[in-house]
Each structure stands twice: as C-alpha cells, then as structure tokens.
Symmetry: C2
Subunit: 192 residues, 2 copies
DNA sequence: CGCGACATACCAACCGGACGGTAACTGTCA
DNA sequence: TGACAGTTACCGTCCGGTTGGTATGTCGCG
C-alpha cells in the first residue's frame, strides 16, 4: 500500500551510489576513488555498495553507462534543435562535447573515467560500444563518413585536451570548429 | 684494463631501467606496472630503481620524457622531408602520429601513460609542457593558428581512438586526414 | 518461511617506499 | 703514489597502510 514504512526501493539506492560515486570522483580524483570513500559518502554501507555492484569495475561500468546516457541525451537535444540535416549527427556530437560547460568537476570525472578505461580493457570496450550506438542514431544523415569521423575525432581530441589542459582553446576557436561542417563544402578529399 | 669488475656507468643503468619499464608497460599494462615488476626485469635490484627514480612518479616522468623525445624526433624528421612550408609543422605532428605504426605494444604503453596522466596531475602537466615545446619548433610556419590547432586536436583524437579502439579508421581515411591542410585552402573560418 | 536488501566484521595480499648496509669510485693531501 | 675521507651506486629486506573483496548476521516484507 503505502511505501512509507517500506524499505527504500533498491533502484534508488543504486542510483544514489552512482551519484555519490561521481561526487567522489569529482572531488578526490582517481587516486582517491575507492570503494570505502564511495560507501562513506552514501547513506548505506560498503557491503551495500558491493551488493549492488559486486566489483569495483562493475561500479565504474554503472558510472560510465550513466554518463553515456547523459551525453547521449545532450547529443540528441543538440541534434533536435539543428534544422540542417547535413552532418547534423556528427555536428551534434561535436557541439555537445564542445558547448557543454566543462566544469572542474567534469574534468575530474573525465580523468577518472579515462584512467579506468586505460587500466581496464573491458571499460574501454564499453566506451566503444557507446560510441557505436550513438553513431547509428541517424543513419539518414547525408554527410560523408570521412567528414563525420573527422568531426568526432576532433571532438574527442578537444575533450582530451580539456581534460589534461594540453591546449588553450579560446571560445572563438571553439566556435570556429563548430562551423566546420557545412553542406556543399566537404572537408576531406574522399567526400566529394 | 677489462671493465668486467668495473661498475657500469650510471646513465646506462638509468637507460636500462627506462627501457625495461617500457617493456613492462607494454606487456603487463597499467595494472601490472609495479616497481617490483620493473626491477625484476632489469639486471639491477628494486633498490637501484628507487635510487635512480626516487618515486614511481619520477620513473613515469622519465618514461614520458623518453617517449616525448622519440616522438619529437619523429615529428622533426617528418617536417624535414616536407617541402611545403605551409602548415608543415602541424602536418608533421599529425603525420608522425598517424603514420607511425601503432603496434599493440605502443597501444599498451600509451594506455599506461594515459592512465598515469589521468591519475597524477603533475604528469599531465609534463605532457602539456612537451606539447608547448613542440609547438614552437617552427614559428615561421605561416599556417593559421586555428588550422594548426585543429590538426593537432585531430591527431590527438585519432591517437586516443587507436588506444581504446573506439573508431575503425581505414588507411584511406588516415590518408585523407593527412591531405587536409593545403596552401590556399584554410579549413576553419577564422583563418582567412 | 524465505528471500532480498542491507550491516558489521574481518581478511589477506599487494605495493610503494624506507632503511641499513656494502662495495666501488673520486678527490685530496702528504 | 698511496692512504684516507667522502660520495655515489646499489643491494636485500622489511614494514605497514591501503584496499578490494568475503563471510556471516539481521531485519523487514510478502
């Protein structure tokens, strides 16, 4: 009947764990990202964390899936407000990566994810799976495969650059990148 | 007379440690990259490793510097054989990243470096320092800053993609990327 | 009851690095 | 040139803190 006395729904706990795990990643970075730290921040115990995510990698998978879903939403939203069909999908990918405010928290989380993928191959494969899925969202996109790939590589490169502070990229330069792909003006030679 | 009993030159030991450390990184990956594993592969002991590199991060710095030097050489060689001055520098950067054979060992080492930079901020800063240095190698390069930046971001994105197996990039596509920057045909809008 | 959602207590192994000691090399000064 | 002092290169061992994971108990709900 009523859910007042009932114990909390497990899904809520699971969601809270992921949420708090992202907080820990944002604040403590990869070296501070431990099961104990995550559990300490949740309302539940470490045992509960291990109950929902039997291993640390499983927790990271949950986090990556969550982040992937968020980013997918951002990309779809970006594509939805783009009237120009040519290259819409790839452009949305780039736009969602470039435009979204990159807070220090995002950077820290990104680093943790990056480290995790670099250490654990299964997580890297999960990343790839996400990319594959987001790539086929709009097969009717008329843009050439080479140009679309180029935009995605560019977006990833910019993301990595932001993560590690490699290049100073001004807002104007980001804007210039956004206007790269226009109909009738393919970038790579293969896309005639 | 003979050098059998003589102690080896310390620089040789240091070089050997870095060399074997790269081997360990290539074969065992980030999770297997421990001081013990490195020491076990060298002819010297763990104590000697710590003597030359007082901390694990210091060893990684040495490895990154070494790799950076190698890559710098590759870039300079690529630029030297390029008759076209326009965008030569940025193109060489891209070319050295794309063209150089990416062996599984390279991928494994790259992952270790990536993880290290993601975990330890000082290593990421070292990466940035290297990029800054390699960027000013040829200030007379007439290519626009935006286009040069774009090529570098593209190269980094491709490198990351190769590291994690994110995109399948055919040799033809890599070739298409190489011919991106040509005189009289700027890519970004800002470089008129 | 029984099953899933937790809590508590605990463990064992890994790993970075500290440390005391030794042997080899280098400079110095008589 | 040779003895002595100081320094550098290196060895082998040990420690202890951290951390991922387990084992077992408990409680509520259906």
């Amino acid at each position: 009947m009523d859910t007042i006395t009932r114990r909390r729904a497990p899904d809520d706990t699971r969601a809270e764990i992921i949420d708090k795990a992202l907080e820990v990643a944002a604040e403590l970075g990869a070296s501070g990202f431990t099961l104990d730290a995550v559990a300490a921040r949740t309302t539940v115990s470490k045992g509960a964390v291990l109950h929902h995510f039997p291993t640390k990698v499983a927790l990271l998978e949950g986090m990556i899936d969550h982040l992937g879903q968020m980013h997918t939403d951002g990309i779809l939203a970006e594509a939805a407000r783009d009237p120009e069909p040519y290259g819409r999908n790839a452009r949305a990918y780039l736009r969602a990566t470039v435009t979204e405010p990159v807070t220090p928290q995002d950077v820290s989380i990104g680093r943790v994810v990056m480290a995790a993928c670099a250490i654990e191959p299964s997580l890297a494969r999960r990343w790839r799976t996400w990319v594959d899925r987001v790539k086929v969202d709009d097969p009717s996109d008329p843009v050439g495969a080479d140009d679309a790939l180029m935009l995605r590589l560019l977006a990833d490169g910019l993301w990595v650059s932001d993560l590690f502070g490699i290049h100073e990229v001004s807002p104007e330069q980001r804007q210039a990148l956004l206007s790269l792909l226009t109909p009738g003006h393919p970038i790579t030679a293969n896309d005639a």
